[in-house]
């Protein structure tokens, strides 16, 4: 007796080399686990279900994976874009006003946006993670979490300058800060890793090669290995990083990371947007998977991350939404479309990164990046039932054409926005259905988050630095 049978729709299992299409397929689930998947007429003869979900007119596919996000920045969504030097002139001045006690509410907004648009797994990189992890637990999504470890305290800039530091120089590293952050990261790991039978797992997050010392980076890497986990690292994310490693170690960021043995399958390499082609090739060859944040990097820098090159070299690619203040969304449908299209723009050709390949990045690719592909990323017997149901009866998914050529894969990537996601399930439990989040109080969160945004506004208004920002001036001049 199956606990649950989802029947009546088509499947993208994402097994094999493409999307693994099954016409009139079914998925049988016992507890958290997929116990049968395939053509409906084969499944239904094996056993009967206690409960049935009717997927007529729908596609069932693995839930989407957002491999890299900073979830609490949603309160600064729309307040940090269209400026040079985004980190210092837009993002930094805004997000420093996010109060720790409000961060979990803002993270909840990010998860709501993601889940409603088909994301079931989030690689969240945010502080204070001890509290934000509870939001992931409550929402019911899968999560691979870290808080992040830095040794830089930018508030000490004035003091550095007294000691001869100039803008553009590598920032001062403070091992006491690093030590404290490292301990916090381990405490978050110890508290949350393995929660709900492994629905929540943890990694360690030394932020980037320029933001921690070589020693701390190696220590985190070794500790992650010891724990059977990974490190989640920003790699070649900006010129500042290359500049810092050049000055400190005589090597650009990627050669430096390689020289100390950090680039391997247990290191999530996020961005790679300032990497030279031979550096991209080196990361791929070492087996470190790539977290590609197309809309974020495009908005912030006008750069196309090298996902097409990385994938062509056999590297594993997953898609990430990064932060709402500089993307500005947490929607993997938007990432799929942009990733496929930016590759075409960059090449001046319609051929790179076809839809089926980008769909793989958003599912099994993402699961491999986060190291959860043993549990999710495909519809396969023995995996946990993380899946979404997409309505094919309405535009832009309708009409469905199956013979002699199928239109579903291209329409998911180039047309669907997430609106037709009817249901999201994680580990066999429905967490979203027909517009309703089943495990959280959406109305209360929206109300409380808007109230917290009011407190954020007050902090911005009290900060004289905000007045000079481009966005404030556009507001004052009535353009926005």
């Amino acid at each position: 007796m199956y606990d649950l049978l989802i029947r009546g729709g088509h499947l993208f299992t994402m097994t094999g080399e493409g999307v693994g299409f099954v016409q009139h397929g079914a998925v049988a689930i016992n507890g958290r686990e997929i116990v049968a998947v395939g053509p409906e007429d084969e499944i239904v003869t094996v056993d009967r279900p206690v409960q049935t979900i009717d997927a007529t007119g729908c596609l069932i596919m693995p839930g989407l994976v957002d491999v890299h996000m900073h979830s609490a920045a949603t309160v600064a969504r729309g307040l940090a874009q269209e400026v040079e030097a985004w980190m210092g002139s837009a993002y930094g001045p805004m997000v420093r006003h996010i109060a720790d006690e409000d961060a979990p509410l803002f993270s909840a907004l990010a998860l709501m946006e993601g889940v409603a648009n088909g994301t079931t797994t989030f690689g969240d990189y945010e502080a204070p993670m001890m509290e934000i992890a509870a939001v992931h637990e409550a929402m019911g999504n899968r999560a691979v979490l870290c808080q992040g470890i830095t040794e830089i305290d930018w508030s000490q800039r004035e003091t550095w300058m007294e000691q001869g530091w100039k803008p553009g120089d590598p920032a001062f590293l403070d091992s006491a800060i690093g030590e404290a952050e490292y301990e916090k990261e381990l405490a978050v790991f110890d508290r949350w890793n393995g929660t709900d039978e492994g629905r929540i797992t943890n990694v360690l997050g030394p932020i980037a090669a320029d933001m921690v010392s070589r020693e701390l980076l190696l220590r985190a890497k070794e500790e992650a290995n010891r724990r059977g986990s990974r490190i989640h690292l920003h790699v070649a994310q900006d010129p500042r990083e290359n500049n810092a490693t050049l000055q400190r170690y005589g090597l650009r960021a990627i050669p430096f990371l390689d020289s100390i043995g950090v680039l391997d399958g247990g290191t999530i390499a996020t961005h790679l947007c300032t990497a030279e082609p031979e550096e991209v090739e080196l990361v791929a060859r070492r087996g470190a998977p790539m977290a590609c944040c197309t809309n974020s990097i495009g908005t912030i820098d006008g750069i196309v991350p090298p996902a097409a090159l990385f994938a062509s070299l056999g590297g594993v690619v997953g898609l990430g939404s990064d932060q709402a203040a500089g993307n500005n969304s947490h929607n993997i449908f938007a990432e799929m479309r942009s990733t496929a299209m930016f590759a075409k723009i960059a090449a001046g050709s319609p051929l790179p990164l076809p839809a089926w390949q980008v769909l793989r990045m958003a599912t099994i690719g993402g699961a491999r990046v986060l190291g959860v592909d043993d549990k999710v990323g495909t519809l396969d017997v023995g995996k946990e039932a993380d899946l979404i149901m997409i309505d094919l009866t309405k535009p832009p998914m309708a009409p469905v054409v199956l013979h002699p050529a199928r239109n579903i894969a291209a329409n998911l990537v180039y047309a669907e926005t997430g609106r037709n996601v009817r249901m999201a399930m994680v580990a066999g439990r429905v967490i979203y259905r027909d517009g309703v989040f089943t495990r959280i109080d959406e109305r209360a969160i929206l109300r409380d988050a808007q109230a917290a945004a009011g407190r954020f506004e007050e902090r911005l208004a009290a900060d004289p630095a905000i007045v000079d920002l481009a966005i404030t001036q556009l507001t004052d001049r009535g353009y926005i």
Copy 2:
């Protein structure tokens, strides 16, 4: 006594140079017309309404304008992308199987997608327009229509080759075909122009400089002028066009069009994607408005249309979705995001085409392109009430931040997908509200369109040329 008062929300009037933000604004409507717009406390003291729409938590802004679309190709959505030479190797082989009698159903799908995502005006360029126009009339949207005029009959290719024609040569023009199509275009114009007090208007559609003779082009232009209308032209849309005008007249397409006096404010110049910068500048200088189809041109050719350059030269730009077989959506939110982001990618900078400017392209810019800016495109007293209501209480529009900087404009362009559109109104009448199309039978159209797609599948299956297409091979090999 106002017929209708929309109150409780914020406004983007799109008047002035930016988005025309009004906090706690209201719009008063009598019949089809806006009779008052501004801060709510000023409006409500003037007169009382018969009826009220509560826009609390929402943004009211002009309905979006899709300046260029071929609406009936939705049945081939997802069946024509990711190939070289799209027209011949993907689009053409598919769309020739669209039966005239089914075309209006497929057009209805396009309009449903557009309206549900906030589009209220469509510049539709499709055949058979005599029947498709009735779909626009029924849906209740605003439309600027043409059927299109060509003198080329590609089915005569074999005969041309017997006469020495080679692929790459300009196609043979047949004035008898042109004459028949011209007469049909005028008949469509006469039947539909001015319908419903001008909600539907018509233009003339000589397709492109290479597809009609100089004489027919000039005749259409003069006739459009005589009728107080415009011509809607594809300009510099592909190398074939430049090649043909070079061979026929010794000039590339844009210099040729200029040499015969066709480039002026009454000519909608669509695409410009093979235009050299000095040709873009010439079009802008002549005052011809640009229809920019970002996602279509990006998908088909990997090209960024020159919207940023055109706008920087003072040219008027509107956004168009082109055709679903090679976009693959009719969603102006998707066009806004891509137009803003592709400009950044092309420039390698986050600065070109800020959100407020792209919002203007999608509203008043589009209205100017189609020549309906006297009636729509801004919320202004005396204009018709074409407007949309967008929910700001849910992600990605929530939370709303207003002081000291506002986040709404950026979030509409970079985060919203159309999902939060709660209501669309045209000429004072609600045509869509809370997921329901008020004037058409959505369920019947979806059912009939899917049945028509089944007939389309049968035609494809009976055509041996379809077997060789890339999309069929991807299907057969199980990738999609």
